[in-house]
């Protein structure tokens, strides 16, 4: 079994790609506005605080996890050339994905509590909720607004929220892996055609949703399911969603998505550059 060298290869590649992608995110979200301010002569009014948001790191990291782990061909080509089978590739990729998911949450956590909160919130509280200088509600993350006060113990709630974030990242990553493994079975031309078709269907659905033409019963049922999966069934206020239900639902979804991704990964074929 070539698990160890395969894992090492994929992990090195992931670290490099994530590092580069994060640098790009920082450049686009901070560097670019600063550069524009410098060029336009408004650098004096440029404020780092204004550029930052709670989701500044977590949302891009979620996107990177989804996109990066949806990609297969480059790594698979290299590994099959070097005598590594599809099963080992999938196992090693899943293990690397798991580590990158945890690492992503660590980075998000450090950013939120090491950079964002001290800069933005100035430790103001209103009715027990963190607020920014303008008095607006500032949860440490979107999920903190759902699970932030489930137990009432600040440290425990912080840990539980982080665990939900990790499961959320894992689900997103597994979704990427599943979609990527299916897409990899098609030629590049057909992949573009499928993406275009999905885009058109998505626009159509959004229009339907906007115009209220979607059967209300279906939509309500779906929303109810989402609420239940997020641990919000029967919960009357924000901050009190049940993180354990959310984690359990997330783990089940992730397992199903990983199983499907494995099924299709075992059907991958080498495609030359």
């Amino acid at each position: 079994m070539s698990f160890k060298p395969t894992f090492a290869y994929l992990f090195r590649k992931s670290l490099k790609t994530f590092g580069l992608a994060l640098l790009w995110v920082i450049f686009v979200l901070i560097g670019l506005p600063a550069l524009i301010a410098l060029i336009s002569g408004t650098l004096g009014s440029f404020s780092l605080e204004d550029e930052l948001s709670a989701q500044f790191i977590s949302v891009p990291l979620g996107c990177i996890l989804f996109i990066y782990f949806a990609m297969n061909q480059e790594s698979f080509n290299f590994l099959i050339q070097n005598g590594v089978g599809r099963r080992t590739y999938w196992l090693a990729k899943s293990a690397v994905a798991g580590i990158m998911v945890i690492l992503s949450e660590v980075i998000s956590f450090v950013y939120l509590y090491g950079v964002y909160m001290p800069l933005k919130v100035h430790q103001q509280f209103f009715n027990g909720v963190r607020v920014d200088v303008n008095g607006n509600d500032v949860a440490s993350s979107l999920l903190a607004m759902l699970y932030g006060k489930f137990t009432g113990n600040a440290v425990l709630d912080l840990i539980l929220t982080s665990l939900v974030v990790i499961v959320g990242f894992a689900m997103l990553t597994a979704l990427g892996m599943m979609i990527g493994s299916i897409m990899s079975l098609f030629s590049k031309r057909n992949q573009w055609l499928i993406l275009a078709a999905i885009g058109i269907i998505a626009i159509f659905l959004i229009i339907m949703l906007g115009s209220g033409n979607l059967p209300a019963m279906h939509l309500a049922g779906f929303m109810k399911f989402v609420e239940f999966a997020l641990g919000g069934a029967g919960v009357k206020s924000m901050y009190h969603f049940n993180p354990f239900i959310a984690m359990l639902s997330g783990i089940i979804f992730t397992a199903v998505l990983l199983y499907i991704s494995k099924f299709f990964t075992l059907k991958l074929t080498a495609k030359a550059y």
Binding site: N77, L79, I80, N82, G83, G85, L266
Partner: protein
């Protein structure tokens, strides 16, 4: 040494059959020539053996274990082919290092010497290399990996005569130093005729010949003489081709010659591998019985 066996391997793309029941057992420490015309299925077969693509039916086993997604077996094989599976941004020396990590060994000394002899810039990116140098770095990898089965699909693509000569010499040197099985799929039959020990000829997806070069050539005859005498002598033999030159006739026979008395005017010569291949795989005329 591991034993690699292909049993009734078939490959279909839609309604098109590329391989139609290939059965071959690759012997250890032997240099094979895998010959076939364009589209015969050589590359498809090598891709199936090394698990790059799945077979429609049949099996490839190493020591009686299926090689599909079997790392232990796959790590005993390396396929060098025209298809570029390395990232174009990778540098040649990075490819050497990554290969060493994956295979758990690599002859860096030999790789360095060969890179120097071939004039290969190991700091160049894979995507920036010419076709010839892309073949060269892949050949170097193939010769330096610690695998028991090395498959070379059109190994000399884009190589000039000097580099081809250097490659064949190096192949023989490394083979003498560390015997393993090489399977060379090529159209340059004359160039490999003197180095291969066994021959596998594929015609329209099926194995036509699978035997040692010596045995194959011993059964290949050129019968030359006046038309009538040659026709009479070869009647009932496995004639795989013929040519006429005025009153003279040449017939190519594959298989045993009968105990007929050879007329004084008729001569029997041996056939070279390339001529044998051409006559055996010629699309014109009848199917030959092997």
């Amino acid at each position: 040494m591991n034993e690699l066996k292909l049993t009734e391997v078939k490959k279909h793309y839609g309604n098109k059959s590329v391989l139609d029941g290939v059965t071959v057992q690759l012997q250890p420490n032997t240099i094979y020539g895998l010959l076939g015309r364009n589209g015969a299925g050589k590359s498809t077969l090598l891709n199936i053996v090394t698990n790059r693509i799945p077979a429609t039916a049949g099996s490839v086993t190493m020591n009686d274990r299926d090689v599909t997604n079997n790392d232990e077996a796959l790590q005993q094989m390396y396929l060098m082919s025209e298809a570029n599976l390395y990232n174009p941004r990778l540098r040649v020396n990075e490819i050497f290092k990554e290969t060493a990590r994956m295979y758990g060994g690599f002859n860096f000394g030999l790789a360095s010497r060969l890179a120097h002899e071939f004039g290969l810039n190991v700091n160049a990116r894979n995507g920036k290399l010419s076709t010839g140098y892309r073949s060269i770095y892949k050949l170097i990898v193939a010769l330096c990996v610690p695998a028991d089965y090395i498959f070379l699909d059109e190994p000399t693509l884009g190589l000039d005569a000097n580099h081809r000569d250097l490659f064949y010499r190096t192949l023989m040197d490394t083979y003498a130093e560390r015997p393993r099985t090489f399977v060379i799929a090529t159209h340059l039959i004359e160039e490999i005729a003197h180095i291969i020990e066994r021959l596998v000829i594929i015609k329209t997806g099926s194995v036509l010949v699978d035997s040692s070069v010596e045995e194959t050539l011993a059964q290949s005859h050129v019968i030359l003489g006046p038309q009538a005498e040659v026709a009479a002598y070869t009647a009932g033999l496995n004639v795989i081709g013929e040519e006429s030159l005025g009153q003279l006739k040449v017939r190519y026979v594959y298989g045993a010659l009968d105990d007929k008395i050879l007329p004084d005017t008729v001569r029997i010569d041996g056939m070279d591998l390339q001529k044998l291949f051409i006559e055996l795989t010629n699309e014109e005329g009848d199917e030959h019985v092997i």
